[in-house]
């Protein structure tokens, strides 16, 4: 983990090499964005669906890397905030007047914002606990939220629809434009832009927003205060950082990201279905999967979190799509290898290898590769 970043020296003489590196990096990000924008024109719906799932992981992982890597607070509660966000979206946007479940009939766009806000508020509500605890104690304490979420899903049937049936979320639309197969028919380069393509663009927009905001926070004052608290609470306090506020803020921001990822999850599955046991869509295993993304990517690195999500959330999807063609994983029933199982093995092993050989994760490897090219560049922030 890097030490607290020194503020950039004012009026430093321009360093051409550094500028070049910056230019190349910006160009690379833009090129990536263009590719992502063009993909729906070439991929079929199944692959787009897989890509959307990776983006859900990306949004969630960015949030988790802020609290775990930047602010140094171990959180195993991410699955709870996923459930909270998903439920909030479904309840806010759900049709009013259903006698089985509660709905407010709000505009889906507004509901999405509401979901993020609800998750952030829940994160803030947990902040007094989070502020008092440290390290592993906080990790296990946050695990309590996952169990509370499990109970909430089982018992608050008017909100969640219950574990047996769940409930369907309102399809997303923005200013009246539906992200389904209805509405205006759009064709781009001969490709009809339907639900899969539209949702891809929506998720891409959300991911990019999440990414940009997180980068901004990490580079700015907020990020500095988080890292100061992570590295030494006492020193941070002496330097004038409000430790409680930094911790609570990091937790709330990360919860907001979790809530957004949860709303995306509900839209992706097209159903909100709380878990029956502690292993499921919103269970411990999901919290651990998100932690895995963050560790594999490199604790605290925002781009790393995205790559981690690509591996952890992407692998089962990609394997499932390929296996149909290749005839892998055809076994069913007892002892069958499934795509989910294989990717669990892969990311379990990846965690072990990362901790053993490259504690900085993939981000550190990436940094080393780029630094070889631009040797004199000072170390990047994480």
């Amino acid at each position: 983990m890097s030490e607290v970043d020194a503020p950039p020296e004012p009026q430093a003489p321009p360093r051409p090499r550094r500028n070049l590196a910056k230019l190349v990096r910006t160009a690379a990000w833009l090129a990536l964005l263009v590719v992502l924008l063009a993909l729906p024109l070439y991929l079929d719906a199944a692959w787009l669906k897989a890509g959307q799932y990776m983006m859900i992981g990306g949004v969630g992982a960015i949030g988790l890397t802020l609290v775990v890597g930047q602010a140094g607070q171990l959180s195993l509660a991410h699955a709870f905030f996923l459930l909270a966000g998903g439920t909030a979206y479904t309840v806010l946007s759900g049709p009013a007047g259903d006698d089985r479940v509660i709905g407010f009939g709000l505009d889906p766009g507004l509901s999405l914002l509401g979901a993020v806000a609800v998750a952030a508020l829940l994160g803030l509500a947990f902040a007094p606990v989070a502020g008092r605890l440290r390290g592993i104690y906080l990790g296990v304490a946050s695990l309590a939220l996952v169990f509370l979420g499990l109970y909430f899903g089982q018992s608050a049937e008017e909100l969640t629809g219950g574990t047996s049936t769940g409930r369907t979320p309102a399809p997303f639309s923005l200013f009246g434009f539906p992200f389904t197969n209805d509405g205006p028919e759009i064709t781009l380069l001969g490709v009809p832009i339907r639900q899969a393509e539209r949702t891809w663009y929506l998720f891409l927009l959300l991911t990019v927003l999440a990414f940009v905001i997180a980068r901004g926070a990490v580079h700015g004052r907020v990020g500095r205060s988080w890292r100061a608290v992570r590295d030494n609470e006492a020193a941070a306090a002496v330097m004038g950082v409000s430790v409680m506020r930094a911790k609570a803020g990091a937790f709330a921001v990360s919860s907001a990201y979790g809530g957004l990822a949860g709303a995306m999850t509900v839209l992706w599955f097209d159903i909100l279905k709380p878990d029956e046991s502690e292993f499921g869509t919103y269970g411990i295993n999901v919290s651990i999967a998100f932690l895995a993304m963050v560790i594999i990517g490199g604790l605290g690195s925002v781009p790393g979190a995205l790559v981690g999500a690509l591996i952890v959330n992407g692998l089962p999807q990609v394997l499932a799509l390929y296996s149909a063609d290749l005839g892998w994983f055809s076994g069913t029933g007892d002892g069958a290898l499934t795509p989910v199982l294989v990717s669990s093995f892969v990311y379990g092993a990846a965690i072990v290898l990362v901790v053993l050989f490259e504690p900085g994760g993939l981000a550190a490897i990436g940094r080393r590769l780029t630094q070889r090219r631009f040797r004199r560049q000072p170390p990047e922030e994480k």
């Binding site: 296990v140 309590a144 169990f147 932690l291 990311y347």
Partner: protein
């Protein structure tokens, strides 16, 4: 009143098993400052070997194999992975154990498939009456076994060379090393002992009386309930592990009866949260102090 008494005995019986598991966390934490997230997979591993060897060796032999192999897995994890990354800090090592846990658990759950065998043959599902209350033998045996094991551990911790070395290392790693204590040996035995305790615990967990379910992913999550036990007692306190275990057992049994079964899992964690808010290092844990 009778129901209440019955619940208390059952709760203490369950609590004894949680105490065994929590003690495993605490021993490892004391020796290495690593929190072992892979404890649940040690539990599953021990249980799985009981299942595999039971036909050939009978219940007693299979149980011994299970207990020993859970201990050995703990030892292997420590020797193979943790001892090789001496420079990583304790928190990253805790994350490493998560990776181990994912792999071992998924593989054993895959191997088990849909067969979810019960393990506690010798005493399972043989309730008996005592003064108007029905007691499960599992809980009584668990209490007895835990009492013996915990006393033995406590005596060893207090009086044996290993205990002295262990306490020295928990106090100050570097000073202990300078005094000639072989830290790798202490660490390795800590993992071995913790694994053995996990192997004993699973013989009670995967029973009709304890969980009503056989060896499965559920067994792993029951082992997770020992986490709050260790935490609320204080991660570096052996007495805390025992108290924490009993508290968790009681809370679970009472809330399942008086509130609802679904709630009982969260109740344990709620109690832990309350304890942590009041005492951030658990009931008996050492408080971290920062001086400026």
């Amino acid at each position: 009143m009778n129901t209440f008494l019955q619940l208390v005995v059952n709760g203490l019986g369950k609590g004894a098993v949680f105490a065994l598991l929590a003690l495993g966390f605490v021993i490892i934490f004391k020796a290495t400052e690593v929190v072992n997230f892979a404890h649940g997979s040690l539990v599953l591993f021990g249980g799985y070997l009981v299942v595999v060897t039971r036909d050939a060796l009978g219940w007693v032999g299979a149980s011994l194999v299970g207990i020993v192999s859970a201990g050995l897995l703990g030892l292997v994890v420590e020797r193979l992975l943790l001892s090789r990354s001496r420079h990583a800090d304790a928190n990253s090592l805790a994350l490493l154990t998560i990776g181990v846990d994912v792999i071992v658990t998924e593989e054993i759950v895959r191997r088990l498939g849909v067969t979810l065998p019960f393990l506690g043959d010798a005493w399972d599902a043989k309730p008996f009456q005592l003064g108007g209350i029905t007691l499960f033998r599992t809980h009584l045996v668990a209490l007895g076994v835990a009492a013996v094991l915990i006393t033995a551990f406590w005596l060893a911790f207090k009086y044996s060379n290993w205990g002295v070395a262990m306490r020295a290392q928990a106090e100050n790693r570097e000073a202990a090393a300078l005094m000639g204590i072989r830290s790798s040996r202490v660490t390795a035995t800590a993992w071995l002992v913790a694994g053995v305790l996990a192997g004993v615990a699973v013989l009670f967990i995967a029973t009709q009386d304890f969980s009503g379910a056989g060896l499965s992913r559920g067994t792993h999550s029951i082992a997770l309930a020992a986490f709050p036990a260790a935490i609320l007692g204080g991660l570096d306190s052996t007495a805390g592990a025992v108290v924490g275990g009993l508290v968790v057992g009681l809370v679970e049994a009472l809330s399942a009866q008086y509130v609802s079964f679904d709630f009982s899992k969260s109740a344990v964690f709620l109690v832990m949260l309350v304890v942590l808010v009041v005492r951030p290092s658990g009931l008996f844990g050492t408080r971290e102090r920062t001086r400026v």
